[in-house]
Subunit: 341 residues, 4 copies
């Protein structure tokens, strides 16, 4: 069986697990006040080109989104996102559970448009009734998106500009950031991301770590007393150094980006193989998630040798499907998959 | 100046305020355990044709919706409603503040469709990923709707049936129930409403009371320990008998319905006057809210003699407007308004 | 039967209900943007000696406490109060329901001590573990207290001073403020209260109104976007002018204070009568709540002619009891009660 | 330097980290639906002597307490615990953040007494005012307690009995369960714990795992839709098998208990060494946490060679201190420490 279900099906990248082994018996203080965590923080800020910023390490993506968004919003505030946003669909209502509404706007290939954000905010402030409505007080986008697509530099600059004018923070969910940075045609670097948004997180769980996400901000004043809120939400890891060890490894010798490049290269090979075999793209993704439309009988047949996800309800004759690569995917996996098409 | 802004611009119906005066100096126990409240409860259950139900009195609509919905939902649960629903737009995020998502479906003349509810629920349970999504666990409709329209008996029966099959409670927001029951062409009685939904509230604030809403259910087991939750949400009136006095008056000699009939009759006269003068209906409403499209210069002119609300953002040349009647509106008010068109 | 159960057993003071009648048929805009509310705001600020402050009107005490405290606190923050505080015992967990811990300190005759507050805060900041604890971020006291006692000027100044040094807001629950201001031996005026705390509320429900409380602050920046939060918590009255009408009446010709004086004078007469008959004080209260210890058989006997509350669990032979006076209590009520002892 | 600060200062027990290595490159489905997790679940239920129970794996203790308690409680409900309980002091208000009050009772050597629970509940239901109070709806104890002490079988049976009579669930926080089971004089087995409470968790983080806690219940109906609530609170691990791998290792060949025995044996040796040197016990603990009273100058001196925590504010001449052992502590560590006293 070859596996393309998702990018969280194995443990950690070999270099990450190796480093966890090497440091296992060392004693450190708890709760992320150790030297490994301090080192990871420095490496990340450096890679992001941030001088006076802050980095916080959390355990998983849903948790990170809920804690960051709750911190950025005041009572009555909502977060603008696409209707397809992870926070709007697949987090079990975690944002609402902190008391905040997700203000869902239509997606365009999984993306928000700057003009839609601008119009929504302008319409909100049109008259006095807004005091009794949910205030659009931040913007959430994912990079890459839930549909594998990426924002161009122009698109992100436009969104960033709208947010600054409206004085609402822009937050980027980077659960799969490694694959976005390495995407075919991407014109945004990590430093670009860091400077165009206010807060973002560098995904570890789906990009080579056992688990863990690194929240980064160049505006620490936006996250006051954040250490306490992380604890309140049960998101503080007692052995915090586990996150420091992992992220310092991921940011040594460019490992994080090379994981991205590896997975994207194989994803491109996979897409090319599907296209050559005549499959229709469901979404044209330049990242490690690939979406096709596949006849139902072919789906059943292919599942004998490969595992992958249906993307939405099963159609009458054909259904969208998703194939995901990661650091553990090999050339041979792709070859076998293409051969089986 | 003649007033058509809304149905909460005066105090209480003369008979209600009269009764508040008469009972003002009497001593009763607090928190709704008095005899006036008990009497109002009996009268309402009787009018609803409910034998073993329960009635709870709260202070206002947003409060009532938030407390009822929070009680009906479990963690992770959301409430299906139209995108135009009061709870989705005009309650400042009160539902989300209790931790729950409003699952907004497209409205059709302000109404939910039974088929859309059925499809949404079916799609939700399609596969196992629903464990990580917001469960559609109740349905909210308003009668009449925020756009003044009403459900027909067939429509409400269909929705009721879908809800029973899916085992999700149906809750009706009756903020303007008096006007819905008296609506032109309405084929639903109070008893019908009571039997087709699981919980609903009879609006007092907009229908002749100083303030107050009566939550009614024929299934008290759906609202366990509700008295405590009402207190927790700060919705318990110390002098609870004020609500009992008002509602027992509204349900004496059919006052509640006669208030509805009065306002609807005048609203129909108003609509007819507008139509004769050539105004286009923005929404064809059979209740006390009337919506027209009006040229902007006419709006400015008319505002010299009458107050009313714009319904949405001002257009380039014309704008939707709303006129509302209530128990205090007179034939003469309507005549003056029509004359000024 | 003569009634001493509580101060919310009748309607409104005759002058208040009279004014509600007089204004009943007038049209005003809703949600407290009317002229009555504006007038009440001006009168209250003037009575409080506040130039640039703000006043907000809410419906009841539990609601007011929950909304104010939620606004004053950040995530992870708690409110210091006595173990006997209304918010700690009798509000069904309303504070916790907004996510905040009540940090209960021992009471001394129902009161907090400045030194206890200072010590608690100092101990909290002792070491770094406080990041994982609930931050004491405001102080709640009631005036008069739940046990009818009052703070002296010296005591309140000391608390106020501790709060300013620690930079935590001081909030006073004035549910029975009229009776505190009129208390025997009180050396604090309304202006003193207003200047020594940061936010407080003037109780209407228990002091002559049908319902309603007025939140006052000389530091409006402590309550940002408070109108929206009030709506979010379902505490916005559609016919907001009802609160404006009531409070402007209460602050006309010193009515609010004269209600206090009337009730306190009768309470003193009541206390004197009990003491003469040999009853032991359970708490020596200078306000409208009076507490005695009464033999159980006497309780049963007295209940034939008067209603009053047991204060705590019934003892083996005697039990604390409470008698409350208000604007509706008469000299004759007291005479009859004393005669029946 | 020798380390006695806490039991979370190293990585995982060598056998646990070994197994994580061995399984690192395997592909499994995510979110705990893998075979490792299923195996760990079976092993734990077997060790607990539970036939039809359920096991859920979470990431950390604060998170676990907040999610379990939120699930067990209804609106208005509170949890009875000692004033020293971890949930009352050191979780940053995580319980209150889910809307629930911690009902703190005085501790006796860190423990709750059955009679205090019984009295509190009885007093609550004394009269009707309880509808406006926080209902005591579950009991939380920790085993061992935050002060290192343990409940005897008699004590736990008494508490269990009170809870059953009152129909409130008993929940045990087993963050350090391994050390409680191995405690000197302990007369409770894992099976006893499992049968005397309704829900408990087996701590991994402090007992040999990298991280992770296993919630166990013999009454799965108490935790309906718990998988969804875990996700909602951001407590779902994408690579859920990491928890399965760790716990199946901890429950292979009695590793969990042998970790406990190792640490307790060394703690007893440590205590004995301190006592021989004339130090006073601050608390007589039979588990891996040891508390002494130490002169301040000795504290400063000892900190040159060993790290440990002050237990509370520094006194004028002496201060309580805590020393903790775990799987990584060696005989030599103890010898060196004693020598340095």
């Amino acid at each position: 069986m070859i596996y393309f279900d998702s990018d969280y099906m194995t443990g950690a990248h070999p270099l990450v697990i190796k480093r966890l082994n090497e440091t296992n018996s060392l004693h450190t203080v708890g709760y992320g006040r150790d030297e490994f965590t301090a080192e990871a923080r420095r490496m990340i800020l450096d890679a992001c080109g941030i001088d006076d910023g802050e980095v916080y390490f959390l355990e998983g993506g849903t948790q990170t989104n809920a804690v960051v968004i709750d911190r950025l919003l005041d009572h009555n505030d909502g977060v603008i996102a696409t209707d397809t946003a992870h926070i709007n669909v697949h987090e079990a209502g975690a944002i609402e559970a902190t008391g905040h509404k997700v203000l869902a706007l239509p997606n365009h290939d999984g993306k928000l448009r700057a003009c839609d954000i601008r119009d929504y905010i302008a319409d909100f402030y049109r008259d006095d009734t807004h005091h009794y409505m949910v205030r659009p007080a931040m913007v959430y986008i994912s990079y890459p998106t839930e549909l594998g697509t990426i924002y161009s530099r122009d698109e992100l600059e436009a969104i960033s500009s709208v947010c600054r004018e409206a004085d609402v923070p822009l937050y980027i969910d980077g659960a799969r950031l490694a694959y976005g940075l390495a995407a075919e045609g991407a014109d945004l670097s990590l430093k670009d991301i860091a400077s165009l948004c206010d807060v973002f997180y560098i995904g570890g769980t789906k990009c080579g770590a056992l688990f863990g996400e690194a929240v980064v901000t160049r505006r620490p004043e936006l996250l006051p007393r954040f250490v306490s809120l992380i604890k309140l939400r049960g998101a503080t890891l007692a052995k915090g150094r586990l996150l420091g060890v992992q992220f310092s490894t991921l940011f040594t010798d460019d490992l994080y980006c090379s994981i991205g490049r590896h997975a994207v290269a194989l994803a491109m090979k996979l897409k090319s193989g599907f296209v050559k075999k005549g499959y229709r793209l469901y979404m044209d993704s330049p990242t490690n998630q690939q979406f096709f439309v596949m006849p139902n009988d072919k789906i059943d047949e292919l599942r004998e040798v490969a595992s992958f996800e249906l993307w939405g309800p099963k159609g009458d004759v054909e259904t969208p499907v998703r194939f995901v690569t990661d650091w553990a995917t090999t050339e041979r996996d792709i070859d076998e998959l293409i051969a089986a098409l």
